[in-house]
């Protein structure tokens, strides 16, 4: 359904609040209003333990003056409440001086909703039933599955952004997810498996994807690892399965291409525009527009329309990602990458859906052409130091490659590498592109993101296991 709903705050009120925010000086003011409702359900140990509902609504106001940003937020959306926050945000700019005018607001204050089935219209019993199905499917995967926990979540986030430059935009963002964690027990101890399903859609998610498939994937991972041997230790070729390792690019270079790190000289990619920074097989894109992906939205949290940004093209660094403020200081426009966790947070440069374009090779051939190494069928989370480029990411499903064949399963371990180094060592990219959802944390703020890639090989990366060390 595509419908418009009423504005969160009357645009006339927003205009008066912006004017108040700049009354004591300042170059730019912005009001960000948010109303978010969420539901989550936890099934654990065969029991529906808890249903949780939450409601947050409020506004964050910032005033920029020169190099300084003042920020305040309030849960009080009345005009009086917004004015108090506006004055608090403006206090930082109180040294007087220039007064920017507030341009007439233009744009939609009534957000468009584009989902088929709003989760709030679905009976809670139907949501609970999904978890029971997941529990049943996981336990049916094998007698060694001794514990299953499954989580369901949906959220509806309505936002309104308006700035003194006349921008006004709104969005109605609905996200739905399901995740399953299994524990398998065997002679060698216990192992875990995890899988999730998450899209920027409504409850129709479960018409399109099977809860059973998600649960069985989680159970399968835990079961496979029961016979796993310790991961090897040292540098070796690593093949990463399509759709499961986009986190590699998110960590290895994505964060380093965020302009806030770059302008502060805290990125390994600073000063490298136009240079070859990766294998020519690497074309990296950050894209907030793909239909339904976890990091997709119509606008970013500064009201700029989402867009597709090519960051690395055939190995050459073409651009960084920008939010309003970093863009303004560098004399350019936002790339639609200004995001924030909630109205209580300042926006900063964030990724949306970050992916490596597919290549042409057959994924099975890539494995067959790898005499020895590690095959990663699922990467877990990761972390990067943007200044040095050093990053880690966890293998949560991995196998040995011996003589071009996938053989024994491996226990969990981290991989460690250096972003610029690893990007140069990608020597083949497959044709089996897929995406996966994730949560990205930066400076204490979490936002939903998507990651994607096709099967690829890195000629040498350090596997942090214990075998052979």
């Amino acid at each position: 359904m595509t419908t418009a709903t009423s504005p969160l705050v009357d645009p006339d009120v927003v205009e008066r609040v912006l004017a108040a925010a700049l009354r004591r000086g300042g170059d730019f003011a912005e009001v960000f209003v948010e109303d978010k409702r969420s539901t989550s359900i936890v099934l654990d140990d065969r029991r529906v333990e808890e249903l949780l509902s939450g409601h947050d609504r409020g506004a964050g106001i910032r005033v920029v003056r020169g190099e300084t940003t003042g920020f305040a937020h309030t849960a009080d959306l009345s005009e009086a409440g917004l004015l108090v926050a506006a004055h608090a945000a403006a206090a930082v700019a109180r040294s007087g001086g220039g007064e920017a005018p507030v341009a007439r607001l233009e744009g939609r204050a009534d957000p468009m909703l584009r989902v088929e089935v709003l989760p709030e219209h679905v009976d809670k019993a139907a949501k609970v039933e999904l978890l029971r199905r997941a529990d049943h499917a996981a336990r049916s995967s094998g007698g060694a599955i001794v514990q299953v926990s499954a989580g369901y979540g949906d959220s509806r986030r309505r936002i309104l952004v308006a700035s003194s430059e006349g921008l006004m935009a709104s969005d109605d963002q609905v996200r739905t997810r399901l995740s399953v964690t299994c524990v398998a027990s065997g002679d060698s101890g216990m192992q875990t498996g995890y899988e999730s399903l998450a899209r920027t859609v409504g409850f129709e998610l479960f018409d399109r994807f099977s809860v059973e498939d998600t649960a069985q994937a989680a159970a399968g991972r835990a079961l496979a690892k029961l016979s796993a041997r310790p991961a090897p230790s040292g540098v070796m070729p690593v093949v990463i399965k399509g759709g499961t390792g986009g986190i590699l690019f998110h960590e290895a270079c994505g964060h380093g291409l965020e302009a806030d790190h770059v302008v502060k000289d805290a990125s390994a990619y600073r000063g490298k525009l136009g240079q070859l920074v990766a294998s020519p097989l690497v074309t990296l894109v950050d894209d907030g527009t793909p239909v339904d992906e976890w990091g997709t939205a119509a606008i970013d949290d500064e009201g700029h329309p989402s867009q597709r940004n090519v960051l690395i093209e055939e190995g050459v660094l073409t651009d960084y990602m920008w939010d309003y403020l970093r863009g303004r200081r560098s004399g350019r426009r936002s790339s639609g990458n200004g995001r924030r966790q909630s109205y209580q947070h300042l926006p900063m440069v964030r990724m949306t859906n970050t992916y490596l374009l597919a290549g042409e090779d057959d994924p099975d051939e890539i494995v067959a052409q790898t005499p020895d190494g590690v095959y990663v069928a699922k990467l877990g989370g990761g972390q990067v130091n943007t200044a040095t480029g050093d990053f880690v990411f966890g293998m949560t499903e991995a196998f040995l490659i011996e003589n071009g064949r996938i053989t024994e399963p491996l226990r969990d371990a981290n991989l460690i590498g250096n972003g610029p180094d690893v990007l140069r060592k990608i020597d083949v990219v497959g044709n089996d592109f897929d995406m996966s959802p994730g949560t990205c944390g930066k400076d204490g703020q979490s936002v939903p993101v998507g990651c994607g890639q096709a099967t690829l090989r890195i000629t040498g990366v350090t596997v942090g296991g214990t075998a052979g060390a």
Partner: protein, 447 residues
């Protein structure tokens, strides 16, 4: 400042016959200043408040929160929690805790001085931190962020089962992220200072720590893979203890998701290892008078001379395990229902300081920072593999810096291979005290 006790009491008084109701409300006022390039990059000051409501009817539990104390939104949360309870699985062990008679420790976690400290002073501290961090060493190329932050938090909890508790605390901190450069090479370091009021903060300590941690890694290389003894710096140990505590959660144990399930009383570690969670120590960053279900916090011994001595429980997990709550309920503010967690972990100190332990180890590596903890530590299997950086130990002294390595073992194995516990126990931000810890026979993966 709203009267939180009145708000939670009002919610609880709406409990219907046969219904248990708990309300937890909190209010906070925070200021954050970030300095950069000799100017204030951002200054945020805000108040936030909300209430979380738990309802239990016939063994079914529901939860809802409102990010506001407005009466109609609080009432909406109660109604929503009540509705949510209808869909949960009935379980006679589900229910709210009742007062257990343990007296609350007299802790003063609130300093009036923070509330009256002017914004100008906060700004000055952040600017001074940046200036000092830059001035520490000519090789400091950038101070990416120099932050001052503080919070005043008040909370209250009440339940229809007789719980009524309120507490308040102040905290403030300084933190700097420095980037050191030498030619093409870059390294980073973080330094901080924390306290309950601005007088507790030490700008010089935070600045020097950030600078030294960054500069001492300059020239770091990736060493060959080997098996060796590892000395974890205090900050790293604090992270490791925080992870270990999650395996000692009674909830994980009783649900068969901990590597320690069924092992109470066993010798799981070396005899020099005694681990305690004691939120009644005022100096601990996580010190608390009451847990998140309103019981008085108390001292819980987890490892006693290497023997598995106990687990942490909240009300529900305790009933599942057939024991009583250890007052270890925690929650991430009003938005989450209680879960189980540690607040103030520390080990009983050993004899040697860090230099003494480095000397004792002789050959090995000192790890000053780790990464990938969430992706690299499996709390169920015990598999442990984290990214690391630090300094090699040669001839009993610190030698060349190393980077882009992993250190790997299993949690089970590391506890049995502790070589030495440091004498340098120090409370750090988070839920654990830092201490130098040496562990034998760990796999280091490098070149």
């Amino acid at each position: 400042m709203p009267e939180l006790r009145d708000i939670v009491e009002r919610v609880v008084s709406a409990a219907r016959p046969g219904e248990q109701v708990e309300a937890y409300a909190s209010w906070s006022r925070e200021t954050d200043v970030r300095a950069y390039g000799g100017e204030v990059e951002s200054l945020s000051s805000s108040e936030a408040a909300g209430v979380g409501v738990r309802v239990v009817v016939s063994g079914r539990q529901g939860f809802a929160y409102a990010g506001s104390l407005e009466e109609h939104l609080v009432a909406e949360a109660l109604a929503e929690a009540r509705d949510n309870a209808r869909y949960a699985t009935a379980d006679e062990l589900v229910g709210l805790v009742v007062p257990d008679g343990v007296a609350a420790a007299p802790l003063e976690l609130w300093e009036d001085g923070l509330g009256t400290f002017p914004t100008e002073g906060k700004v000055a501290l952040a600017l001074d931190l940046e200036r000092q961090a830059r001035a520490c060493d000519a090789r400091i190329r950038q101070v990416v962020s120099a932050d001052y932050g503080d919070s005043l938090v008040e909370s209250a909890i009440a339940s229809s089962t007789g719980i009524a508790a309120a507490s308040r605390r102040t905290t403030c901190y300084l933190a700097a992220d420095a980037v050191a450069g030498d030619g093409d090479e870059t390294q980073t370091g973080n330094g901080y200072s924390v306290g309950r009021c601005p007088e507790d903060l030490d700008v010089a300590v935070a600045a020097r720590d950030a600078s030294e941690r960054a500069t001492r890694l300059l020239g770091a290389r990736k060493p060959p893979s080997s098996r060796l003894d590892v000395v974890f710096d205090g900050r790293v140990t604090a992270t490791l203890l925080s992870i270990l505590a999650r395996t000692l959660s009674g909830e994980e144990v009783v649900k068969g998701r901990s590597l320690f399930a069924g092992r109470l009383g066993e010798q799981v570690g070396v005899a020099s290892l005694t681990l305690v969670d004691d939120p009644t120590i005022a100096a601990a960053f996580g010190a608390a008078t009451y847990d998140s279900e309103g019981l008085a916090c108390r001292r819980n011994v987890l490892l006693e001379r290497g023997q598995l001595a106990g687990f942490l429980y909240d009300g529900y997990s305790a009933r599942l395990a057939g024991t009583s709550s250890t007052a270890s309920a925690v929650r991430a503010g009003f938005k989450s229902p209680p879960g189980v967690g540690a607040r103030a972990l520390s080990v009983v100190p050993g004899e040697l300081d860090q230099a003494g332990i480095v000397s004792l180890v002789g050959e090995g590596v000192l790890v000053q920072g780790i990464s990938g903890v969430h992706s690299g530590v499996n709390l169920v299997s015990g598999d442990f593999s984290v990214g690391a950086e630090g300094l090699m130990i040669r001839g009993g002294a610190l030698a060349e810096p190393v980077r882009e390595i992993t250190v790997a073992s299993t949690i089970q194995r590391m506890l049995q291979h502790v070589l030495a516990v440091g004498s340098d126990v120090e409370w750090l931000p988070g839920i654990a005290a830092g201490v130098t810890l040496a562990v034998a026979d760990v796999a280091m993966s490098g070149a």
